[in-house]
Symmetry: C2
Subunit: 214 residues, 2 copies
DNA sequence: GTCTATACACGGATAGAC
DNA sequence: GTCTATCCGTGTATAGAC
């Protein structure tokens, strides 16, 4: 337990920090609490990270990557043939995508709550404010890709500029998520999510192929 | 500066706490920082509040009342005659209402940021979690009243159950606000807000009066 | 009733022992 | 290189002086 250390330890501490933060909140994630969770001595902290702020930076990056790992399709991979173009019902595709997101939220509420906490923590620390901005730029990007995928799978196209739709969609889901994290009202959340899904369907137009291969 | 005290001091401390929180964030609003801001001795704190948690409780209540004070109409009162029924253009009414909200956000970004911070702070403290829930129940209520007002002023009615629309609307604005607070991108926010406004217009149907008074 | 002085616990960071 | 012991600052709460 001696040689294999420098970067290994860092990972260990980041994971421990995330566990503590999910369990007790960002405020409770002190250096002492983190090293205790990792089963390391307090001293280990300061030759892995210059300061606590650096740990937070790493934690935020890690959380962002996790969001990326998440399946970006409706119900997982759709087979070796890839997505079916054209004849998947539009409503199904939209609802499937949103449903998959929502399922992740419902299964890991604390992790999502942590995301919001981290964003605000970052906004308050001058050195980390840019990280928060980068976080949301990234999420907007992911949102945009999701919308592209929806269009592709349903054989349709968006009738609005994608960047606008991506920001709106991110915000809508963000708001719905936050609201649910607070009151945990499944029915209300579900109804509101459906409302959003129906709105999205409204904004899709079947792609008019000049001529089918007849 | 001696006699007039008990409740008076409390108000003084709550105001000071809010100022500190807006300026430096909730985490920096320590008992010492708050009494310093209020120009009071440290001892003053603990015979006004049993503990810091009580102060936070009061602060949250105060902030909620402020939100209530805000004008709930598009451009202030619309005269002694009250709202005009029927012939106000629907799009105008919707955009006016949303625009008024957005103007408040743009003018007091820090105050709105504080709202989110307080919610999360409350969610983490067992004794305050219910307060956070009450906060959102209240905001949902306000959202619902706004929607009613929009319908009334534009002489139309909503084609969806109001509670669902109220939750969705609250979440959408919440998300858009949070996103803007992070990146301060006015153009992107404005475009996304318009998207939401157009969606709302879609959900309004002119009220079919059996017969006009001809 | 109002405020001062202080006790106590905790968090971040470092100097130096092994 | 790894960890222990400790310093200093800060936050909460209280005992008791005015």
């Amino acid at each position: 337990m001696s040689r294999r250390s420098a970067d290994e330890r860092r990972e260990q501490l980041i994971d421990a920090a995330i566990r503590v933060m999910i369990r007790d909140g960002v405020a409770k994630a002190t250096t002492r609490a983190v090293v205790a969770e990792a089963g390391l001595p307090l001293g280990a902290f300061h030759y892995c990270f210059r300061a606590k702020e650096q740990l937070l930076h790493s934690v935020i990056e890690r959380i962002m990557l996790r969001a990326l790992d998440a399946p970006d399709g409706p119900d997982g991979p759709d087979g070796p043939d890839g997505p079916v173009f054209g004849d998947a019902p539009v409503g199904e595709v939209v609802r499937g995508t949103l449903g998959a997101y929502w399922e992740r939220v419902r299964r890991n509420p604390d992790e999502h709550l942590l995301t919001y906490e981290l964003t605000q923590y970052a906004l308050r620390k001058p050195g980390l404010a840019d990280v928060a901005r980068g976080q949301y730029r990234h999420y907007t990007e992911v949102s945009l890709r999701q919308l592209e995928t929806i269009a592709r799978r349903s054989g349709a196209e968006w009738t609005l500029p994608l960047p606008v739709l991506a920001r709106y969609g991110l915000s809508a889901l963000d708001g719905l998520t936050l609201n649910w994290l607070i009151d945990r009202d499944d029915e209300a959340a579900s109804a509101a999510l459906d409302l959003y899904a129906n709105h999205l369907v409204t904004l899709l137009r079947p792609v008019t192929e000049p001529a089918a291969v007849v």
